[in-house]
């Protein structure tokens, strides 16, 4: 018998029932809920007169619509406010635990879950949000779902699923100093494309992934969806166990020992077979910057904006031309010659303490460049913010001219008041550079926190390693 992949193991242990045609009923251990994709699911439950199957698996927090400043004044936009109030009411009516806007534990669901130990190795974790793969960094099977499936999980604690294929992305060797998890995942997406992982569950492996902290692995898994895969994951090792230990909802005493023993098996067997294996050489990865309107439109900082005329595929060429027009860029421009207007450090990709430390390290004793209209740091949760403040990071950012904000999704998708104006160019640590994502007409360049910090203090993109 051949060995199993990590995904195979997670899948099998959660299968309640499997039909001969491969359709399975998969049991869900943790369901994270936010205000945008849940109201219609709760409404559906009410209309059908259904209850929540298992209350203690659900954890809710508002994140997409929450303001990141003057929070004591509430939410100014009445439509945003209604959505957050609707979450509060639904959680109260059904009895679901919620970290409300004024709770120190509130934050972006994908930061809050691991931080609280609410998401653990070996779990199935779902959320009505495509960046749920983040939790796969703990050796969990985590994936985003639509609102109908949110309702399904609430009502049955299960989902009807078809198993994905197995893909291994192996990042061999070690990255150069100054290269982060964000650069690794952007380089991966640049290589396999935004549809490269469609139909697969991706396991990230290799020495460069093992060398990452859990925060770094979360950044990598977070963007699995930008490579087309619903789920991304990393095998459990000692770092995972150390990360989980003593978190509020982590198992304790005897159950901790039992859990750790079970988690030791959360890796692919040596003789496991994958449907697809992709290799990257870590040493080749340089700081990455996206130039276009899809995360696969990404290059190294020392490259030039690509020339669409060199692209033979007509559909791709048209896409590149449209992207350059939208981004206001000329082909062959060196990336380091591109000036920026705004800087956003935050999002479920890069708003954890390690991200803020890396950015602060670059910002320290420097000032935000004169051409930058706004540079902001939005911590991923109230607890990340508190820890950063204990370390004095907020002072470093503020002294340099950054704004230090309250936690939430913020300008990653601009559902709250934080947004780009038309044609404003932003160095952003978020995950999507789609047209209009950060505000109508806004131009997003995806980078690591250190690269965003370097862009903030120089006013243009620059290889952060020349500043360190």
């Amino acid at each position: 018998m051949t060995g199993k992949t990590l995904y195979d193991k997670l899948w099998e242990v959660h299968c309640v029932y499997e039909q001969p045609n491969g359709t399975a009923l998969l049991y869900i251990d943790r369901h994270l809920v936010h205000e945008v994709t849940s109201p219609q699911a709760f409404e559906g439950l009410r209309l059908a007169g259904r209850q929540v199957w298992r209350l203690d698996t659900n954890l809710a927090t508002p994140d997409h619509n929450v303001p990141t400043m003057n929070r004591n004044q509430g939410i100014a936009d009445p439509i945003s406010r209604l959505q957050v109030e609707t979450l509060d009411k639904n959680c109260q009516d059904f009895g679901i635990t919620e970290y409300k806007m004024d709770d120190i534990r509130q934050g972006i669901v994908h930061v809050v879950g691991p931080e609280q130990g609410a998401t653990l190795p070996g779990m199935t974790v779902v959320c009505g949000d495509s960046h749920t793969a983040t939790h796969g960094a703990l050796g969990a099977l985590a994936f985003g779902i639509g609102t109908s499936e949110v309702e399904h999980v609430l009502a049955t604690q299960c989902l009807i699923q078809q198993k994905s294929k197995n893909m291994l992305i192996q990042v061999d060797g070690q990255v150069m100093p100054g290269i982060t998890g964000k650069d690794i995942i952007l380089a991966i997406i640049g290589k396999i494309g935004t549809a490269g992982g469609t139909g697969y569950a991706i396991e990230f492996g290799g020495d460069a992934i093992k060398a990452l902290s859990i925060e770094g692995r979360m950044t990598v898994c977070n963007m699995a969806i930008e490579a087309g895969a619903r789920a991304g994951m990393v095998a459990v090792d000692q770092k995972t166990i150390d990360y989980v230990k003593n978190r509020p909802f982590a198992p304790t005493s005897e159950q901790w020992q039992q859990a750790v023993t079970a988690w030791q098996d959360l890796h692919s067997d040596a003789d496991a077979t994958f449907d697809c294996v992709v290799h990257l050489d870590a040493a080749d990865i340089k700081p990455q910057v996206s130039w276009g309107t899809s995360p696969e439109m990404v290059i190294a900082i020392d490259d030039r904006v690509p020339d669409p005329m060199a692209e033979r595929d007509e559909v791709k060429r048209e896409g590149m031309l449209a992207a350059l027009e939208y981004m206001g860029l000329e082909a062959n421009t060196p990336m380091t010659a591109i000036n920026i207007d705004k800087v956003f450090i935050g999002s479920c990709t890069n708003s954890r303490i390690e991200d803020l430390r890396q950015a602060a390290h670059i910002v320290k004793n420097r000032k935000v460049a004169a051409n930058i209209k706004l540079a902001m740091v939005v911590p991923g949760s109230g607890l990340v913010k508190q820890l950063a403040e204990q370390e004095g990071l907020h002072d470093i950012f503020r002294e340099a001219g950054f704004e230090w904000r309250e936690p939430g999704c913020s300008m990653c998708l601009a559902m709250n008041a934080d947004r780009l104006e038309p044609q404003e160019r932003c160095a952003s640590t978020s995950n999507r550079n789609f047209v209009g994502r950060q505000g109508t007409g806004g131009r997003t360049h995806l980078v690591s926190p250190a690269m965003a910090a370097a862009a903030a203090v120089t006013g243009h993109f620059i290889d952060v390693r020349t500043l360190a």
């Binding site: 049991y27 997409h64 009505g128 495509s130 049955t156 469609t198 559902m415």
Partner: protein
């Protein structure tokens, strides 16, 4: 859920790859707590020249005459012809809600993003995957022929072109059956209540920490 058996409809070609769900329904419309009413804002940034916000009077907005959905010959189209990786990005089910509300029953593309593909089936929309070369051919025929219609028959998994050419398509038998019956997934799963409860009892013994109160 609305059942899907057969659909005869006008085809509109959207010649862009990697159409993301942010483009299908921009974020400002996700603030709604309802499941309906997204149709007027489908492809909002492409369809209109002015910026759309929730609650605007749609009749006063400026249509973008260059956007294909606004061209008179495609008015009333129920089949969307698209390119690779349609529906990528955010998991928002508001995307299929908007497509359905606008009147689309089926989408044909060489590939779809996983979450979007799955969400379509929950909303009575049939996403059909065909080879690149056949999709190319359909694009050519649709653009060349005003009033180009296709007949999509789900039970036989066939598309019939105006020239009576038959194109077969594949899909998972479970999803097909649910769509034909317009089946509610939750009702289906609740037939397995005993199996779910047994699973929980077994897991509680194996992994009690998964049953801890939050």
């Amino acid at each position: 859920m609305q059942a899907f058996t057969q659909c005869t409809g006008l085809v509109v070609p959207l010649d862009k790859s990697n159409v993301d769900t942010d483009a299908i329904i921009p974020k400002q419309f996700l603030k709604s707590i309802k499941r309906t009413g997204f149709g007027p804002n489908l492809f909002d940034e492409w369809r209109y020249l002015d910026h759309g916000e929730p609650g605007m009077d749609q009749s006063k907005r400026q249509l973008n005459p260059d956007f294909i959905l606004n061209q008179a010959r495609y008015s009333g189209a129920t089949i969307l012809l698209a390119r690779d990786n349609f529906g990528c990005g955010s998991s928002r089910e508001h995307a299929p809600w908007a497509l359905q509300d606008h009147g689309f029953r089926a989408i044909i593309a060489p590939s779809f993003a996983d979450i979007f593909y799955n969400n379509c089936f929950k909303n009575g929309i049939l996403p059909i995957i065909l080879s690149k070369s056949i999709v190319d051919q359909l694009f050519q025929e649709t653009l060349a022929t005003e009033g180009y219609q296709l007949v999509i028959d789900l039970p036989t998994q066939q598309i019939i072109t105006p020239a009576q050419l038959t194109i077969e398509f594949e899909l998972d038998s479970f999803r097909k059956e649910c769509l034909i019956k317009g089946q509610d997934d939750i009702d289906l799963t609740l037939q397995y209540v005993d199996a779910i409860k047994q699973y929980e009892l077994k897991r509680q013994k194996e992994a009690p920490w998964l049953f801890r109160e939050l």
